[in-house]
């Protein structure tokens, strides 16, 4: 296990280093922030001074090394726009994005698994066919369009739910989140569902495929031959087996929930990291863009690691191999 952990951590470090180079040089190619930042009426001396102040007069390689040195001590540079450290800016917005992502994760599990189970256990019924057709829609319809439609229907026409903002927040166990107030929950409904739609479809299809495969396994037939209730057979024997791939995929997809929240946050004016990223891209605020991308990379790496560990806890066969190593 420890050997496995060390190897994984080394791999993670290499991935993060490689990504830092891609992100840094990639953002430099996109455009020159000086054009956006400086007052067009400023004179040449002012422009030079600003460029020097931002460190943009140095060769690109040197800028990269300087950037790496900064990362090492947790300094991603200051935002060109806000003048605050980029990392701090992002971390301020992170709770909003996290609560959106967790709400979406929760929805995709509590909606996706039961629907998938039903569709897998009764593949011939019309309800199951409806579920599967719905999941194809969930996959194919673009997130932004569905988001706009949801706003039109639920916020504008029916007026049931608010369409923008995060709503009231409350502090519980040291965490400040809108999930702890009714107003906050009503605000999170639409964006969370919008973000979750793709994942619900994914979980439905995965659960259904797993169920269809598992019901024909001998251990299910043996469980029936033991005279167990169908509730126990489905709830324990079947679910525990199909949950292994489902948990793995849901875990891996959690990273993409955070990353894809960019679109949802923009549509629902959700004050999270994604909205900040879009705003920063529009004004070419390099440090914020780079810091955001680096944080997302680090999150992906971390999530992968956690999923590997959870997977080994769920599947006793994997657990044994680790002990042997």
């Amino acid at each position: 296990m420890s050997e496995f952990m060390i190897r994984r951590l080394l791999q993670s470090a290499i991935v993060i280093l490689a990504m830092s180079a891609i992100v840094f040089f990639g953002v430099n190619v996109v455009g020159d922030p000086v054009d956006m930042l400086i007052n067009p009426e400023a004179d040449q001396a002012d422009i030079e001074a600003t460029i020097r102040a931002l460190g943009l007069d140095r060769p690109i390689g040197e800028q990269y090394l300087f950037f790496l040195k900064g990362i090492w001590v947790g300094d991603f540079g200051k935002s060109f726009i806000f003048g605050q450290p980029a990392l701090q800016l992002i971390l301020q917005r992170m709770p909003a994005t996290m609560e959106l992502a967790f709400a979406a994760l929760f929805l995709s599990i509590v909606i996706g698994i039961p629907l998938g189970l039903f569709a897998g256990l009764r593949p011939e019924s019309n309800v199951s066919k409806g579920i599967m057709a719905g999941s194809i829609m969930g996959f194919s319809l673009p997130t932004f369009w569905v988001g706009l439609m949801m706003i039109i229907i639920f916020a504008v026409e029916l007026g049931w739910l608010p369409s923008t903002g995060r709503g009231d927040t409350a502090t519980f166990l040291g965490m400040t989140s809108s999930l702890f107030t009714l107003d906050g929950l009503s605000h999170v409904c639409l964006p969370a569902f919008n973000l979750a739609l793709l994942k619900i479809s994914l979980v439905v299809r995965l659960t259904r495929a797993g169920t269809r495969e598992a019901v024909h396994q001998d251990y299910i037939k043996f469980a029936r031959a033991k005279g167990l209730s169908s509730r126990r057979i489905v709830g324990v024997h079947l679910l525990k087996n199909i949950l292994i791939p489902v948990v793995t995929v849901i875990g891996l997809e959690f990273g993409s929930l955070i990353a894809f929240s960019v679109v949802t946050e923009t549509i629902f004016a959700w004050p999270g990291m994604g909205k900040l990223l879009i705003e920063s891209i529009l004004v070419l605020d390099r440090p914020v863009i780079v810091a955001y991308l680096m944080i997302i990379v680090a999150l992906f790496v971390l999530i992968n690691l956690v999923v590997d560990i959870v997977y080994s806890l769920l599947d006793p066969r994997v657990r044994l191999k680790d002990q042997g190593a």
């Binding site: 001998d218 029936r224 031959a225 005279g227 167990l228 324990v236 525990k240 087996n241 066969r317």
Partner: protein
């Protein structure tokens, strides 16, 4: 049917079993309704088993022997269903029984052991979980008592250090060990009938012999009736009291084990026995039954074996009826190997 009554008369004096056979199957037909047509997996099958008796149900793959077993348990899934016939278990008809009643009987009064021990135990549940749930599904018993019972059952089937095995996951046990666990689960609730579906096929010969011996001893001791499904006549020869040979969904021959093995009457039984390798046939070519088992869809009328049978003639275009050759000995054949004919 006379099978039940005759064998009963003959052996009820030998055994102290109840007057009624544990299981009587009469004219059972289980068909699968597929797009290609109706598959007559079990077609007019009748047999019976008494308490403490082991019936060997032999036949090639696809002869319907496993489906017969699943029919008794009420575990036939669509598109299959029991079309007609009766399955009387301790006098109660299972064909017309409610699903709840069947669930209550399964694992409790009728248990089943499956073919592949690698697949029958749930890979993500510990052995004790899988044993305790089998007890608690049928009787109110606290976890501790149920665990003790599971421990005793493992000990009974000859598993060393049962305490450790209870905490193990199936993948930590060998194939033979897993099959013993499955057998222990079958015996947990002291059932009246166990259906064993080729439980030793996937195991080495030495383990196979041990398991056969133990299963036999357990049946004798507990008075449990057993149906041992197999494709290997050599296996049932030393195990079963009686043998029923199945071919293409029908029982073609039944009788006491030694009679069927020593003097098979049906040409199919003769062929099946001739194709078993044995020490005194060393160096000779093994006999084969020519051809293949017929597709059960659109089976031609008449005897299903006629295309492969050396004795077939025009008579065989008519479906042979069950003939009682001797008491307790039945065949479905127009041209059996009668002893006076020098077979």
């Amino acid at each position: 049917m006379s099978v039940a009554e005759d064998t009963l008369e003959k052996t009820s004096s030998q055994r102290d079993g109840s007057a009624v056979p544990t299981l009587v199957v009469e004219n059972l037909k289980t068909h699968f309704f597929t797009r290609a047509g109706a598959v007559k997996a079990v077609d007019d099958v009748s047999f019976s088993v008494k308490a403490g008796e082991i019936l060997g149900l032999a036949g090639e793959s696809g002869s319907g022997k496993s489906i017969t077993g699943f029919s008794v348990l009420g575990l036939i899934d669509p598109p299959g269903r029991i079309v007609s016939g009766a399955i009387r278990f301790n006098g109660e008809d299972l064909v017309t029984a409610s699903p709840e009643r069947l669930q209550d009987l399964r694992g409790n009064r009728i248990a089943m052991i499956f073919q592949d021990p690698m697949m029958t135990l749930n890979p993500v549940l510990r052995v004790d979980t899988q044993m305790i749930e089998a007890i608690q599904a049928h009787r109110k018993m606290d976890r501790k008592a149920a665990r003790q019972r599971a421990y005793d059952a493992l000990e009974m089937v000859g598993i060393p250090s049962p305490g450790e095995r209870l905490n193990a996951y199936p993948h930590q046990l060998s194939g033979g060990m897993r099959q013993r666990v499955a057998i222990a689960i079958a015996f947990l609730n002291e059932p009246d009938l166990i259906i064993a579906d080729e439980p030793t096929t996937a195991l080495d010969v030495t383990i196979q012999a041990q398991i056969l011996h133990e299963a036999q001893a357990l049946c004798r001791r507990t008075g449990t009736a057993m149906i041992w499904i197999t494709h290997d006549l050599a296996v049932v020869a030393g195990l079963a009291d009686r043998i029923a040979v199945m071919y293409a969904g029908r029982i073609v021959e039944t009788g006491q084990t030694d009679e069927v093995i020593d003097h098979p009457l049906h040409p199919y039984s003769v062929g099946l026995l001739g194709s078993v390798p044995s020490a005194n046939k060393r160096g000779d070519r093994l006999n084969q039954i020519p051809g293949m088992t017929p597709s059960l869809i659109g089976l031609p009328s008449g005897c299903a074996f006629k295309a492969r049978c050396p004795r077939a003639d025009d008579h065989c275009d008519a479906t042979p009826e069950v003939i009682e050759e001797m008491p307790g000995r039945e065949i479905r054949c127009h041209h059996p190997h009668r002893q006076e004919a020098g077979a």
